[in-house]
């Protein structure tokens, strides 16, 4: 649909080219919304998980996890990369979603899709409430509020062991078949396609969202929040909206994790999860959507390979890596790739 509307726009602008002679060509492209058409590279990117299903049948569980964490990182990218809100407690919504889906299933409601939606609703309501606190104050206060709410939920889940299972985690989830047909099998085949489908659908929606006028206004707020009211944008309301959307998506990612692993551990709410999420996003590159997915993939594969050696070393290297990224490689993998591509293009032009 988006491809259609953008091509329609193009046709219209070609037809009306003579009417718009007064507006210089440069300004017109700057005023227009970003081209929403899918680039070939993006299509290739989305074929990768499909290919990996056939190429690495032994790693289906890891790939599903990467897609789930990637979805979670995407939700953080919406608020951090686009709206510029630094959150240290995003795991709160992930955990809420995971526990919602987990508890529904433990208490006999094993239908996955409705569980997923319920998780999104619960996390979204929490996100809406938290967003009122987040828009007050500046970076430090935001950081503290998100961190504090994350820790509060962790403590709550820890203390309410009679509901959540506490430190032992929530087990005994029984999922019914996806669409009533596909059973969640031991090899993780159904889990793979389920995660892939949810990730792709939500990605398409998010991609549409960030390229819409609303998404552009978020970038405006990130770049200069004080000036946005001057062009008629209600800053607080927009920030609340995107924070809520991000919470919904984080909740759905949490639900996916709970449903595909059929277990919810207390660590879904922990501070390390929020911090690692931030690392993945920065590693991949913020404000690009694809950065979140690439960052999650690189991080999870590296963790799978390295942390087996020694968890303490792994933490040391993440720390070192973060410091180096901040000092020398702003923009992460995607930022670096864009710089290289830009250099090539300049050479071609010269």
């Amino acid at each position: 649909m988006s491809a259609f509307s953008s091509s329609a726009l193009k046709a219209k602008s070609a037809a009306g080219a003579t009417d718009n002679q007064l507006v210089p060509a440069m300004d017109k492209s700057a005023l227009r919304l970003p081209n929403d058409r899918w680039k070939p590279l993006e299509i290739v990117f989305w074929l990768l998980p499909v290919a990996s299903y056939f190429l690495f049948p032994d790693y289906l569980v890891l790939i599903s996890q990467i897609m789930i964490v990637g979805l979670f990182a995407l939700s953080l990218d919406l608020i951090l990369g686009y709206a510029g809100i630094v959150s240290l407690g995003h795991a709160a919504f992930f955990g809420l979603g995971a526990y919602t889906a987990g508890l529904l299933s433990v208490h006999g409601w094993g239908e996955p899709i409705s569980g997923l939606l319920a998780a999104g609703v619960v996390a979204g309501i929490a996100g809406l409430i938290v967003s009122f606190l987040v828009v007050r104050g500046q970076d430090l206060a935001r950081l503290m509020v998100t961190l504090g709410i994350g820790l509060m939920l962790f403590e709550a889940a820890n203390k309410a062991a009679f509901i959540t299972g506490g430190v032992d985690g929530l087990s005994g989830m029984a999922m019914s078949n996806l669409f009533g047909v596909f059973e969640f099998d031991l090899f993780g085949k159904t889990a793979f396609w389920y995660s892939f489908g949810v990730l792709f659908i939500l990605f398409v929606l998010m991609r549409r969202l960030v390229n819409s006028p609303f998404g552009m206004s978020l970038r405006g707020i990130r770049e200069g929040g004080r000036r946005m009211p001057a062009i008629g944008a209600h800053v607080d309301r927009r920030l609340k909206a995107i924070f809520t959307v991000a919470a919904v998506i984080a909740g759905m990612a949490g639900a996916l994790l709970a449903q595909t692993t059929q277990f919810v551990g207390l660590d879904v709410l922990g501070f390390p999860r929020s911090a690692e999420l931030l690392i993945m996003l920065v590693l991949g590159g913020t404000g690009r959507l694809y950065g979140a997915l690439i960052g999650a993939a690189v991080f999870m594969v590296a963790q799978d390979k390295i942390s087996g050696l020694d968890p303490a070393y792994w933490q040391f290297y993440i720390g070192l890596f973060l410091v180096l990224i901040v000092l020398f490689a702003r923009g992460g993998i995607m930022g670096g790739a864009e710089k290289i591509i830009a250099r090539f293009k300049r050479k071609e032009a010269a």
């Binding site: 951090l80 630094v86 240290l88 606190l133 007050r136 104050g137 500046q138 970076d139 430090l140 206060a141 950081l143 503290m144 509020v145 961190l147 504090g148 709410i149 820790l151 509060m152 403590e155 709550a156 820890n158 203390k159 501070f271 911090a275 931030l278 690392i279 920065v282 303490a312 070393y313 933490q315 040391f316 993440i318 720390g319 070192l320 890596f321 973060l322 410091v323 990224i325 901040v326 000092l327 702003r330």
Partner: protein, 288 residues
């Protein structure tokens, strides 16, 4: 019951003054350089490990280890400020957060590598153990000592900042960097020395706090929230704000854990969120 309450209050004040000692450096660096430093707890941990090592390996008396903890943390702080931190003063808060999380992770992994993942024991001298009878109340000797040290340090800090030339330079730089530099104050040097002082105080707090807070490699992560909380609630850039905030938080945390252990740390986080909603810019707002 009343005696009980006074005991909780006393423990809370001791705990709060320790939090203040560790966090005051963070408050000043945040106010002075507008730098969100999540790695502040790592400096406290350095002090703690220096204390333990010197105490056990070299058999020095406990009191003599405390200045060493201060000096070690201050030197490390000075070196890191000169080499790394200062490159990020102009960076976004996100960069600062990521950088300091990275430092924290490295400190945690480094401490695990050097000292192992277990809690470090500390052998206090006899005169600091047990209880002291004051006005019919049994008060922990070590906690009394702790409060006394923090009172002395706070007085010293107050005199330093209000009565000395260097203190005037700090105040001037906090209020307006550009104007201060224009008046011939070497703002960059003030930054470095203040950072070193703040790290040193954190190190001192870490050494003093082993008996109260414990000491293991996860220390910087475990207490990060508390230190940030003191500064965020108290208001960055002042001394009075964090002092009030630290005492409030200390008393509420101890009282919460004593009277309602089943909700545990919930009390402190709720208090924090409520305080941040009521005072989004801190209890004591610095004059612009």
């Amino acid at each position: 019951m009343i005696g009980n309450f006074v005991g909780v209050l006393f423990d809370g004040i001791a705990y709060g003054s320790l939090l203040f000692l560790i966090s005051v450096g963070l408050s000043v660096t945040m106010g002075l350089m507008n730098f969100i430093n999540l790695a502040h707890g790592a400096f406290a941990m350095v002090g703690g490990y220096v204390c333990v090592t010197v105490l056990q390996k070299m058999g020095m008396p406990f009191l003599a280890t405390l200045p060493l903890a201060f000096i070690a943390a201050a030197v490390i702080g000075l070196v890191l400020e000169r080499t790394l931190y200062r490159q990020l003063y102009q960076a976004t808060h996100l960069d600062q957060v990521l950088f300091s999380i990275g430092l924290t992770f490295m400190a945690v992994a480094g401490a695990t590598f050097l000292f192992g993942p277990t809690q470090q024991p500390v052998n206090l001298p006899d005169w600091l153990r047990g209880q002291v009878h004051v006005l019919g109340l049994d008060l922990g000797a070590y906690r009394l000592f702790l409060i006394a040290v923090v009172v002395l340090v706070t007085l010293g800090l107050y005199l330093l900042i209000e009565r000395t030339r260097f203190g005037a330079q700090i105040r001037a730089s906090v209020d307006n960097q550009t104007a201060a530099a224009g008046l011939g104050i070497n703002v960059s040097r003030v930054f470095s020395l203040t950072f070193a002082l703040g790290s040193g105080l954190a190190g001192l707090g870490g050494g003093l706090g082993i008996d109260v807070l414990g000491l293991d490699p996860s220390f910087p992560v475990k207490y990060m929230v508390y230190f940030l909380l003191v500064v965020a609630v108290g208001g960055a850039g002042s001394i009075k704000g964090p002092l009030i905030a630290a005492l409030i938080l200390g008393v509420f945390d101890v009282a919460g854990k004593y009277y309602v252990p089943e909700v545990g740390a919930f009390v402190i986080y709720t208090l924090m969120v409520v305080l941040l909603i009521l005072f989004p810019f801190g209890l004591v707002r610095r004059k612009a």
